[in-house]
Point group: C2
Chain length 127, copies 2
DNA sequence: ACTTACGTTAACGTAAACGTAAATCAGCGC
DNA sequence: GCGCTGATTTACGTTTACGTTAACGTAAGT
């Protein structure tokens, strides 16, 4: 147990460059351990990287991702902070639901286009 | 009918700057008519702008958006081109479905976090 | 006539997210 | 000890998507 990874292993696993991973560290999105000056990534870091890349695919900036990723490892203990935390969670959820609406609309339109096109193609090839 | 809009009307309607709209024109994403040197946007342009901004929210680059938006106004007439067109539509749909999966996963995780947090908060305030 | 509010082109600036090149260092196999 | 591989840091370059500034024209309201 307690798997660790080198920078190259993670880079290959997620198809990013080592430069990118170091950049994420510089930006405070990852914080691997060190063996001398070599980085040692734990599964915690691996999970984080996965979250980061997913966030990117969804069009979030690294700053936004930093906030989101931060939520995964620090549910606050104090009541007031916890309430704020829950508020933030709900905001994030609302954003994602907006994006999902955007996607669903686009999908519906693409489907309509495809249907028309397939019908038109049938007409053409029927002759 | 045959509504038209000024650059300012569109800018206000979609909360972008006029600079942005001109930039999109430079990039070939919009092609308004002219009255002298003033731009005249038709509802076609309005629709396109809406599509562009939706694409941006989803994290597509302007180059990708250009391709996508182009699909809305040019279902090709020739059979071979039409087949290729349908292929492209399906690729785009697959991309969007991938994004939706990303969103759904994230939503599920946020929901779990929220549930935990709410429970924890209940504990805290019960005392 | 004056203001304001909009329009124009052109050029330059900027933030984000890395890429790339250069130089160095550390461990392994022989 | 030598060369290879893969790690490191440092630093400058690049692309995308605009913003900003300059410098000006035009048209409507008062």
């Amino acid at each position: 147990m307690s798997q660790t990874y080198t920078i190259r292993e993670l880079a290959d696993a997620f198809d990013v460059t080592t430069r990118t991973i170091r950049f994420y560290e510089d930006e405070g999105l990852l914080s691997p351990l060190r063996d001398g000056q070599n980085r040692i990534f734990r599964s915690r870091d691996r999970v984080r990287l996965k979250l980061i890349l997913r966030g990117k695919r969804l069009g979030f900036t690294l700053a936004e991702i930093k906030e989101i990723v931060g939520m995964y490892d620090a549910p606050p203990g104090e009541s007031g902070q916890l309430t704020l935390f829950i508020e933030k969670l709900r905001e994030r959820r609302a954003e994602l639901e907006d994006k999902r609406r955007d996607i669903d609309e686009t999908l519906a339109e693409l489907d309509a286009l495809e249907e028309q096109s397939v019908a038109r193609l049938k007409e053409l090839t029927a002759k």
